[in-house]
């Protein structure tokens, strides 16, 4: 399959706008689940407002949240997909830029030192484009995540030592969820990276936070940790928007990687309740848009 770069550009534009307006079905289901189990009346009314906002955004085709975030594109190239790598990146960037200027969207991206905003949602190394490969025959996947700053600012890394063990990991996650409180717009998906190197660990936390609700860590040890931590953080009473209640997190997701005998890294990356995500799958039969 030869990848049609015009279609990639158009899709990169479309996915950014769609992600900002329509939440994935798993997140909507997550809201219903929290609403059903929440016992605090104030928290219930906060959840109701959030659920209403999801409907209003769709009815008025407006943005769920004003923060258009940092645009992230995760692409996965399958077998026998023919494409020029640099042109592919250029097409994605162009699509991202066009979404911003043509919709128009607020550009939330600035130079890190001068703080100058090019008004395109793009800049040095942004949009973030992560490239991976898969076994899927003639398939190209593009996932788009507009990552809001309120929750992205809830990112942490600790190079624990082996003597701290799993206790160190658990304590770190609970303490960070407490520290960020309402700032990260709970209910959240708490992404946790365990193991690897410092950069891989951080990357895993981000990947975990962006995973669909209901998905489970491939590593059974990670999956066990997910259950324990999901339960634990929802006992802290932080609640939606940090105003109190049971619904602090939809879930805690964990991703793991092997690490060094003398290392025990743990990273946290939080996804806010505006857990936005859109996805396109390119195959020889066409482009399918989803979540």
């Amino acid at each position: 399959m030869k990848l049609d770069l015009d279609a990639v550009e158009e899709t990169a534009k479309h996915l950014y706008i769609q992600a900002l307006k329509i939440l994935p079905p798993d997140i909507k289901a997550g809201f219903q689940k929290l609403d059903a189990s929440e016992t605090n009346p104030l928290a219930k009314s906060v959840l109701a407002t959030m659920i209403k906002n999801i409907d209003v955004a769709e009815d008025t085709t407006n943005l769920l949240c004003q923060d258009t975030g940092i645009p992230i594109y995760n692409i996965v190239i399958g077998r026998n997909v023919e494409v020029d790598g640099q042109s592919l990146k250029d097409a994605i960037r162009k699509g991202c830029e066009r979404a911003t200027t043509e919709h128009p969207l607020r550009s939330s991206v600035v130079h890190p030192i001068t703080r100058v905003n090019e008004q395109t949602s793009c800049g040095i190394r942004v949009p973030v484009i992560n490239v991976d490969f898969s076994n899927a025959e003639e398939t190209f996947e593009m996932e788009m995540i507009p990552k809001g700053s309120g929750s992205e600012n809830g990112s942490f890394l600790k190079m624990c030592i082996p003597a701290e063990g799993v206790d160190g990991i658990k304590t770190f996650v609970v303490d960070k969820v407490m520290e960020v409180g309402g700032r990260v717009c709970p209910p959240t998906i708490v992404g946790v990276g365990v193991g690897g190197t410092s950069d891989l660990c951080t990357k895993l936390a981000k990947k975990a936070g962006a995973r669909a609700l209901g998905s489970v860590c491939d590593d059974p040890e990670g999956a066990k940790l997910e259950v324990a931590l999901s339960d634990a953080v929802n006992q802290l009473g932080i609640g939606p928007q940090g105003l109190g209640g049971d619904s602090t997190a939809f879930a805690v997701h964990v991703e793991t990687a092997a690490t060094h005998i003398t290392m025990n890294p743990v990273a946290v990356n939080i996804m806010c309740h505006s857990a936005r995500r859109a996805r396109a799958t390119f195959t020889p039969t066409g482009v399918e848009i989803g979540f």
Binding site: L42, S45, V46, T49, M50, K52, N53, V56, A57, T60, N62, L63, L64, C65, Q66, D67, T68, P104, L105, R106, G148, G150, N153, D167, K170, T171, V174, D175, M178, G181, G182, R183, C185, A228, L229, D231, A232, V233, Q235, L236, G237, I238, G239, P240, Q241, G242, L243, G244, C272, H273, S274
Partner: protein
């Protein structure tokens, strides 16, 4: 918990009546500010021609579209999506906003700190929490952008909004030192040890 509608601008007495946990709905007028607006007003010595006395300000930077000025868009801006940003970054501006401009209400998400609590107590002010990340809904509470000042800072200009049924908003910090955030924080602190023990930490 009481719910009431307040027409802006409001008086010190109206604000002192509000207690943490109450809900309010604002009518008529609202002003939008953000980091750069206040850095320029309070660090770079710029002033605004707007009279903010007795008014509410919201921590925002809206998505707007430039249009030719008309009856429905008198400032030449259409509001596309108006949402709320995290307040904590703007903590140090609460006092000057109240002392120099007479602002009585600050709307934001995530809460403010000790300096703001003291200013609310001293001058008579409240912090109203909006549900962060519900901008689509918030946008429907804004009738129009009636005016704009310090517009070279766009999107962090000083915005004047005509509002209708803006809320419900939650009184999260009142003028008597009360704060919803404190009690939530305390609860989390109190439960921490039990939560960790529940996962077998330290066992």
């Amino acid at each position: 918990m009481a719910e009431q509608t307040i027409h802006m601008p409001c008086t010190e007495e109206q604000v002192r009546d509000l207690k943490a946990g109450d809900t309010v709905i604002l009518e008529d007028w609202l002003y939008g500010i953000r980091d750069a607006t206040q850095i320029h007003m309070f660090d770079h010595g710029r002033t605004t021609r707007f009279d903010l006395n007795g008014h509410a300000v919201i921590h925002t930077a809206p998505n707007v579209k430039k249009v030719p000025p008309s009856n429905s868009c008198p400032a030449g801006y259409e509001s596309i999506c108006v949402g709320t940003t995290t307040s904590q970054r703007m903590e140090r501006f609460t006092r000057p906003l109240m002392a120099q401009y007479g602002v009585r209400m600050i709307i934001g998400k995530g809460g403010l700190g000790e300096e703001s609590r003291a200013a609310f107590r001293e001058f008579g002010g409240v912090y109203l929490a909006i549900i962060g990340g519900t901008a689509a809904l918030e946008t429907t509470w804004i009738e129009q952008i009636t005016d704009v000042d310090l517009d070279d800072l766009n999107p962090e200009s000083l915005w004047e909004f005509k509002i209708r049924g803006f809320g419900p908003l939650l009184v999260a910090m009142d003028s008597h030192g009360g704060s919803l955030y404190d009690s939530v924080k305390q609860t989390a602190q109190d439960r921490r040890a039990e939560v960790l023990a529940g996962m077998g930490v330290g066992a």
